[in-house]
């Protein structure tokens, strides 16, 4: 048994941490959060230039060909920011969907472009009857001459504002199967609108009679789309969980630091048992997220069955990030609510990630199925 990272993984971790400290300081993150704009200008371009974002893409398709654990190391560091941007949605989830379901030509065309950040392909999955089930995909696609036509509305689409292309789930009017169709955001009939409020980079995407080429259909068959997406989601969840681990770690460090430096009643607040309790609760959440995630990454890397672990990691990890932020707010009291302080960047991210790719309740149920209960 050895639960340590390899030397190369430790080096990657150090390099990424250093990069993020320089390129994504709190001020930058706050500015990005205030803007509701694409997050693909600088420093995103410099992040892309490192080549790291190709970590989940095989070398033969222009990626880094990293292991799941390598990707976990990278995303854990991104989560500390929390660094926004379509790294998870485009470079991991959409790339995995192409890898799982695309034709050879599609892999050649898309994967190198995604790895280099030249194109940003964002999955547009959920709709008005919000769920992660196939039956709730109501957007339609039909043959039209030599191409395809799409209609429908996608909601709560994560990172859509930053996309160059959307990877849309849509139901074939002919066969009733749910396939994956690539739609350029510049196509006529595509409208993307950011959703205001406590959400984190969520948008509405309207597809009004949108025409695309026949080769926009992933795997050139409707039948392949949904399953490919499910396999891609399964590969992405552990990486997303690593992001949440890094985020919890950052919230934890903030809280411990504050407990040492904030003086009330003539002593550091960390000396009060109630504040200790909040931080102990927080670190329990953090470590629960960490070890459920790490074991899942290891299982995937070593080819072991991992379905149960994937659901466990997401159920634990998303609840952990949510709760970690709540405990951190208790530790900080007033100052934690001040936007400028930076804790609310995490609080906001934690609420959206709670649901992205399935909320804890959804994954608990899937876990029960996976355990044949």
């Amino acid at each position: 048994m050895d639960l340590a990272l390899t030397e190369e993984q430790e080096m990657l971790k150090t390099a990424v941490r250093g990069f993020i400290q320089v390129e994504y300081p709190k001020e930058t993150l706050l500015e990005m959060a205030a803007e509701e704009q694409p997050v693909t200008a600088e420093p995103w371009q410099r992040l892309v230039a490192t080549g790291w974002l190709g970590i989940a893409i095989p070398q033969e398709y222009g990626g880094e060909g990293g292991s799941f654990t390598d990707a976990g190391v990278l995303f854990e560091e991104l989560g500390r920011g929390p660094v926004p941007g379509p790294h998870l949605s485009s470079c991991v989830l959409a790339a995995s969907a192409i890898l799982e379901g695309g034709t050879e030509e599609q892999k050649q065309e898309w994967l190198p472009a995604l790895a280099r950040g030249e194109r940003i392909l964002v999955p547009a999955m959920t709709e008005a009857s919000y769920s992660w089930a196939e039956k709730d995909v109501r957007s339609t696609v039909r043959q039209n001459g030599g191409g395809l036509r799409l209609d429908g509305t996608k909601v709560y689409v994560f990172d859509a504002v930053s996309a160059t292309h959307l990877l849309c789930t849509a139901r074939s009017e002919e066969s009733n199967e749910v396939g994956l169709v690539i739609v350029p955001v510049t196509a006529d009939g595509v409208e993307i609108r950011s959703l205001p409020g406590f959400s984190w980079n969520l948008a509405e995407v309207k597809l009004n009679d949108v025409s695309v080429d026949q080769d926009s259909l992933v795997g050139s068959s409707f039948a392949r789309g949904w399953d490919a997406l499910q396999r891609a989601i399964a590969r992405t969840i552990p990486v997303m969980c690593a992001y949440q681990v890094g985020a919890c770690q950052s919230v934890y460090e903030m809280s411990v630091d504050y407990s040492r430096t904030r003086i009330q009643f003539g002593r550091p607040i960390g000396r009060f048992q109630r504040v200790e309790d909040h931080i102990i609760n927080l670190v329990n959440q953090l470590d629960a997220a960490r070890w459920t995630t790490y074991e899942t990454l290891w299982k995937l890397d070593s080819g072991k069955p991992a379905t149960d672990s994937i659901h466990l990691a997401k159920a634990v990890g998303s609840a952990a990030y949510y709760q970690a932020c709540n405990f951190a707010h208790e530790v900080h009291a007033g100052v934690g609510s001040v936007t400028e302080y930076g804790l609310t960047l995490h609080t906001t991210a934690s609420r959206t990630l709670y649901h992205y790719l399935g909320d804890p309740q959804f994954h608990r149920r899937r876990l029960a199925d996976a355990l044949s209960l």
Binding site: G197, Q264, F265, F272, N326, S337, T347
Partner: protein, 410 residues
């Protein structure tokens, strides 16, 4: 025991009067936006106008003594007024006036008769809005560490320092403020409270950006501010309770702020949520018919019912002058922590529609989104959840023979 206020025929008649009066005087434009940061000057002025009219009738502070501008009415009348105003989704006063509520009650206990004659009628008649200024960068939970200085100079005090997380948008008339009246004196013997006119020279108000600024029940404040005092000269007359006597005044203020005042009225959040879940479908049936949603809705309902009953009990205890010990902080603690638990249940039920106030995709006109934020922030104002527990422990006498007493109320 009787949980319903018994309505005498006289009360029922009074209710009719109140209803008719409200129907005539509450403008349909008065609705409070879910996030009070969006309250407009017009909406605020409508609310101030309603407050003034209620004040003229003696219905704003119904049980406050008539000689100081209150209504001089019985609790039975006050209950009717509160219920009827609540049915409009409004509070009393219908705008943020924490300094009026808490400062007024403190002056009732600690002010001289002349001070009562001067400061109370404008509050009780709704002519002024007052903020409460307690917190400083180094004095949060540890309020007794307040360092904003008030130095005597002839008939005036000169005030210097800074308060944070205070007030609202759209300004105020008075600032109910705790200061340090003696830098050398020991803790708890160095404080003094002032009613400070907000238009005195040397006061600067700077809005803060928070996750949300409301979180307390009722009229949200809009924004919170840092307020700087630079050689602000306040008449010595405005010192309430005496120099270095501020801590005893604080006990009254804090007692009420910690929830001892109680509250009657329903939880509008639960109403909005239930309505939304009845009217919106999932899997071809109303959300309320989904077994998981039902479980969560009932979790929420149970939390809210307990909070309601704690508040009802405290309202009754206060008005029947029963001896109060830990009940105030208990209600406050429950409200804070149950609010946070409810917000997670709501997120479980509604998904990301609880995270946006988008007119099309945000659940219940943005009320849920506002609650997701305010449930977090609401843990802190008026004493953190931890501080409520600490006070409860002292009042119950956990591990100690001498039980701490509640602050004096009028």
């Amino acid at each position: 025991m009787d949980f319903e206020p018994t309505y005498t025929p006289e009360q029922e008649e009074f209710r009719q009067d109140v209803r008719e009066w409200l129907a005539e005087n509450v403008s349909p434009d008065i609705a409070h936006p879910p996030d009070s940061i969006n309250i407009t000057e017009e909406q605020y002025q409508l609310r101030r106008g309603l407050g003034r009219k209620l004040g003229e009738k003696g219905w704003l502070w119904a049980t406050a003594p008539e000689e100081y501008g209150g209504g001089g009415l019985s609790l039975d009348h006050a209950v009717v007024i509160e219920e009827e105003v609540d049915s409009y989704g409004l509070t009393i006063p219908p705008y943020y006036d924490s300094g009026g509520r808490l400062g007024g009650a403190s002056i009732m206990v600690w002010g001289t008769d002349e001070q009562k004659q001067t400061f109370l009628p404008p509050i009780f008649r709704g002519q002024v809005r007052t903020w409460q200024l307690l917190t400083e960068p180094e004095a949060g939970s540890d309020l007794a560490n307040a360092k904003m200085s008030a130095d005597r100079d002839g008939d005036e005090y000169v005030i210097n320092g800074q308060k944070i997380y205070v007030g609202s948008s759209l300004g105020c008339d008075y600032m109910w403020t705790i200061t340090c009246t003696d830098n050398e004196a020991p803790r708890h013997q160095n404080l003094g409270w002032f009613m400070i006119p907000a238009d005195l020279p040397g006061i600067t108000i700077q809005p803060m950006e928070l996750l949300i600024s409301g979180g307390e029940s009722g009229a949200g404040s809009g924004v919170k501010n840092t307020v700087f005092f630079d050689n602000v000269r306040v008449p010595a007359f405005n010192l309430i309770g005496g120099e270095n006597e501020g801590w005893k005044v604080a006990t009254t203020h804090l007692e009420l702020e910690h929830g001892t005042g109680g509250r009657i009225g329903r939880n509008w959040l639960v109403d909005h949520l239930f309505e939304y879940c009845r009217e919106n479908q999932r899997n071809g049936q109303p959300l309320t018919k989904d077994p998981d949603v039902r479980d969560k809705l009932i979790d929420i309902y149970v939390e809210a019912e307990i909070a309601r009953l704690f508040n009802l009990r405290n309202y009754w205890m206060r008005h029947s002058k029963a001896e109060i010990t830990y009940e105030g902080p208990q209600a406050s603690y429950w409200r804070k922590m149950s609010g946070l638990r409810m917000s997670q249940s709501i997120l479980d039920i509604l998904g990301p529609s609880a995270l946006t106030f988008d007119p099309q995709w945000g659940a219940a006109e943005g009320h849920m989104e506002a609650h997701q934020r305010s449930a977090i922030v609401a843990i802190h104002p008026g004493g953190t959840a931890d501080i409520q527990k600490l006070i409860m422990a002292r009042r119950i006498g956990i591990g100690r023979e001498v039980r701490e007493k509640a602050g004096a109320l009028a």
